[in-house]
Symmetry: C2
Subunit: 288 residues, 2 copies
C-alpha cells in the first residue's frame, strides 16, 4: 500500500476558481472585495511576501492595497489606522502582517480589527467563536488543514485526531475545528510525555511543529491520514537548500492512507484559505 | 489506598477570604467592586439563584445590583442596556443570566459585554484569550477545575489530561487551560469511539457531562486525580432526590489519588471563581 498524495496545489486552485467566480458575481452587482494589508516597518522579505499576496488576490479579482507604516509608529497611531480601516466601507478585509516591531503588542492590535473584516481569523473573538463552535472566520492554516482532510472524503465523527504542535494559529484551532466535526482530539507538544503513544493511535495525524523529519514510520498508524503543516528550509549535504516538512515523507508514505507533501500540501492551501476568508469577510461586510 | 477528598467548600472559603481582604483594601482607597447581573424575563428559580449570588457577593464586600428586564425586551434594547453598563464607571462587572428568551441571541449579547467587565469569561474574545494563552478572565467552571487540581500540588507539565464533555463553558476551556500548564489534553465527548481507552490513561480526569455515574472504577487509572463537574439531581428508590456527580464516587475512591465530591467539590468553587473573576475585572477596570 502507498498513501494517496493530497495535492494541496490542485485543491487550492479549485478553491481559487470558485472564489474568482463568486468575486466576479459580486463585482457584477457593483460589490468589490477589497483587502487592505498593513505592514509596520517594512523589510524586503515582508515586501516580497506582500507582493505575492497581492498577486494572489488580483488573480481572483480581489482588490489589494498594501499600506506600509513607519516602524516607529506608536501603538495608538497604529490602533487609529486600524480603526480607520474598520470604518472604511470600501475596505472589506484587513490583515496586519507579523512580525511587528517590539514596541507594538500584536495581540492588542489584532483585537482592534473588526471581527467581520479579520481575514486571518486572529482576533481573539474569532478564535473564541471557533471554540463556541460557530466559526465566523477561522485562522487560515487551520482552515487549510480541515479542507485537506475533507478532500479525502473521510467522516471525522468518532475519529481519533492527534495534533502535534499546540500553537495559537495552527494546533489549537485545528484541534477545535476537528472537535467541531466530531473527532476526539489530543493536542501534543514539546512537553508531551510519550509522543509516539499518541501519534500511533491517530486516525488523523496533523503535525505542525517546525522540526524537519520529526515524525517517522514508527509514529504512524497504518491507514492514517497525515497532514504535514511544517515548512522547513534545510541545508543539504551538497550545500543547497531544500524545503521539507515535519514528516519523513518517504518513510511514512507506505503506511499512511493519505499524506500531504511539502511543498505542495498545506502551503498553497493556506493562501487559498486567506482568499476564501477574504471573500467570506466581504460577503458579511457587504451583506450588512 | 483511598483517594484524598478535595474539599471544594474549604478551598472556596479560603479564596473568598482572600477576595474579602482585597475588596476591603480597594474600598479603603475609595474603589468599589460592583457587579451588575442582568436577568431577562425573570422566573422564581432565576430569582433564587440571583439572590444567592447577591448574598455571596455582599459576604465578601462586593456590591451587587440585580437588573431585571422584561422578557419581551428587543435584542437591540438589551444590547443598549449592556452598552450602558459597559460605559457606567460605577459598574466594574457585568453578567447576563442564562437562559434568555428564545428571541435573544445569547452569544451575540455576550459579545457586547466589555471584555474587562465580563466576569463569567463568556465573551468570545475572552475565550479567544484563553486559546492565545494569555487569559484575561476564564469561564468560572474552568477556572474552578484548575484551582482544584492546583490544590493537590501536582505539576501539570507533561501529564495526560483527559476531559470528558466538550462544552463551551466547561470542557473546551478546561482543556485549553490545562494545555497552558503543559498537560497533554484529550477532549472526549458523546461521539468518542472508545471512551475507556482514553480515561484509563489519564493522570488527570475531568468529567463534565451531566450523566449520573458515567465514570466507574474501570475508567480510572490508579493514582489519577479525578474532578467531577457533573451536578445531577436523581430520584432515589425511596422517592427522595439526591445530588450526585458524573463519577461513581464510592467505586472510584479506592483507585484515584484525589477526588472531588458532589456536592462540595466543583460547585462551591465555581461560586468562588465568579467572585474572583469579579474582583479581577474590577482591578482591571479600576486600574484603567
Amino acid at each position: 500500500m502507498s498513501a494517496t498524495i493530497i495535492d494541496g496545489t490542485a485543491i487550492g486552485n479549485r478553491i481559487k476558481q470558485e472564489i474568482a467566480a463568486q468575486t466576479a458575481r459580486l463585482a457584477s452587482e457593483g460589490k468589490r472585495v477589497h483587502l487592505t494589508a498593513v505592514i509596520v516597518g517594512s523589510t524586503p522579505a515582508a515586501e516580497v511576501y506582500a507582493n505575492r499576496q497581492g498577486e494572489a488576490c488580483r488573480a481572483v479579482g480581489i482588490d489589494y492595497t498594501l499600506q506600509t507604516l513607519p516602524d516607529d509608529i506608536s501603538q495608538r497611531q497604529l490602533r487609529d489606522e486600524i480603526r480607520k480601516l474598520n470604518k472604511d466601507k470600501s475596505v472589506t478585509g484587513i490583515m496586519l502582517h507579523a512580525p511587528v516591531p517590539p514596541h507594538i503588542d500584536l495581540a492588542r492590535m489584532q483585537f482592534e480589527i473588526d471581527v467581520t473584516k479579520d481575514v486571518e481569523g486572529v482576533n481573539p473573538a474569532n478564535i473564541g467563536y471557533v471554540v463556541y463552535g460557530h466559526t465566523l472566520i477561522a485562522p487560515c492554516t487551520a482552515g487549510a488543514v480541515v479542507e485537506l482532510i475533507h478532500s479525502t472524503g473521510i467522516d471525522l465523527y468518532g475519529k481519533e485526531a492527534v495534533i502535534v504542535g499546540a500553537s495559537e494559529i495552527a494546533g489549537k484551532p485545528i484541534a477545535l475545528l476537528l472537535l467541531g466535526e466530531g473527532a476526539t482530539p489530543t493536542l501534543c507538544h514539546i512537553g508531551t510525555r510519550d509522543l509516539i503513544s499518541h501519534t500511533r493511535r491517530a486516525d488523523i495525524l496533523v503535525v505542525a511543529v517546525g522540526k524537519p523529519g520529526l515524525i517517522g514510520a514508527a509514529h504512524v498508524r497504518a491507514g492514517a491520514i497525515v497532514i504535514d503543516v511544517g515548512i522547513n528550509r534545510v541545508k543539504q549535504p551538497d550545500g543547497t537548500s531544500k524545503t521539507v516538512g515535519d514528516v519523513q515523507f518517504d518513510a511514512v508514505q507506505p503506511i499512511a492512507s493519505h499524506l500531504t507533501p511539502v511543498p505542495g500540501g498545506v502551503g498553497p492551501m493556506t493562501v487559498a484559505m486567506l482568499l476564501k476568508n477574504t471573500l467570506r469577510a466581504a460577503e458579511i461586510v457587504l451583506g450588512k
